[in-house]
Symmetry: C2
Subunit: 254 residues, 2 copies
Amino acid sequence: MAEKASGGVQSVERAFELLELITNAGGEVTLSELSSFTSLPLPTIHRLLRTLVSLGYVRQLANRRYSLGPRLIRLGEVANKQLGSLARPHLKNLVETLGESANMAVLDSEMVVYIAQVPSPHSMRMFTEVGRRAHTHDTGVGKAILAQLEDDTVRDIVTRAGMPTPTEMSIGNISDLMLELKRIRERGYSIDEQEQEIGVRCFAMAVPDAPTPMAISVSGPVSRVDEAFAERAVPLLQSAAEQISAQLNAAAAS
Amino acid sequence: MAEKASGGVQSVERAFELLELITNAGGEVTLSELSSFTSLPLPTIHRLLRTLVSLGYVRQLANRRYSLGPRLIRLGEVANKQLGSLARPHLKNLVETLGESANMAVLDSEMVVYIAQVPSPHSMRMFTEVGRRAHTHDTGVGKAILAQLEDDTVRDIVTRAGMPTPTEMSIGNISDLMLELKRIRERGYSIDEQEQEIGVRCFAMAVPDAPTPMAISVSGPVSRVDEAFAERAVPLLQSAAEQISAQLNAAAAS
DNA sequence: CGGTCAGTTTCCGTATTATGGATATTATTA
DNA sequence: TAATAATATCCATAATACGGAAACTGACCG
């Protein structure tokens, strides 16, 4: 009937769609807001929510609004650990060799989420926190991920997320971004040249063949993270990305 | 046909059951393991998993095992923040005044989950991590929550979760627990008297009228957390619990 | 190196299950 | 208190998910 015969179980797809909508709406929604976002009929939404509430994945507030339930916390924690613990040794290795903070992030619909971070030993360092969401067009990891996607997908992502320009170095329109992605594809890695914060430079590389688009990066103050740093960092980034990729696609121990 | 006409959408319930099973199995399972846990037929499990994989909530490893997908991370983070960010200022306040670690936990079916934690400034302190699950009968927050529930519900919860006794102070049977809950109801707060770990005492109080049963606590070594401490702590706990309750039940801003 | 087997995936007819229009109920506003 | 808008429930319908059976894949062993 619809436009997509994906073969998936529709009620499950719809239930998760609702969860995502609640999340995107800032974690708290009314039933009718949901109905205006989805084009699903109200009774259907209500029934799915009822199910989710009874399971504890959604909770209903006193004002009858719906928000995410506590049961999701654990799923998220475990999922996080799952990927993060796999990546952390590699990031740690980068930090030990290069002396700057290393991060890993995944694409989550139209934003990137940091899922692992190893801080640099320097006192002056980045304060990237695990779980934080960031735009794709103004971060090293974001651009590295975008460079792996189809142009149409990229356009869709930045259109949905918007293109704020936190600094005067940030890329503010799609055509500039496309040019930049072209350079990244040729070069094999991305540079965040003070695009998110003045004084901070970052080198990032996508993890190839990942089940979800993801990238790793090293970042620090421009004074330390310069051309010479890049020469040391890029091969290490590449090797780490490849190792993570291999582990992701490899058989795991029993 | 089955035993439960819960009125919920079955495929959704089953999908989440699978997610929980993967989580409980440590985050990585084979299809047939799942089938042995659930009594669902293999094709059904497979179809649900396929749906979850295509949505990004489950990922399939190269060894054909299934594990939790990155998309869950964000849902968990937001759900966490939802409750935690509301509570954190109050916990921080407790820590500043009392000098001991403060926690908040919610009931999640038959266990409690810690959703916010502010560590004490002391070097010797608890290592309660956000997202951790614990039993109800041997923790301060757990007992505070149980004391708010019907006796039948309590019985059901501890039956499902079991009653392990991590220390010789732990409560090991239901009748003792019921007596303890009676004392807690009269007193208005619960005490974890080295029931989870020798040397650790904890005072906890339920958050009244919460949409989900929840409680806050302060905990520390018995040497510091004594009778005199309790006299200072209890009124503060009460006030914090009431403030959190008020916020939970207030209408949210547009 | 070929054969066997357990585990995984796909197929497809069936009927159980989710669906959503219509309606009742409950909050909210005037 | 009445009117209005939101939320929740009912129930006949058929579309949807279901699961038995069969095909496929990779692993292990002879």
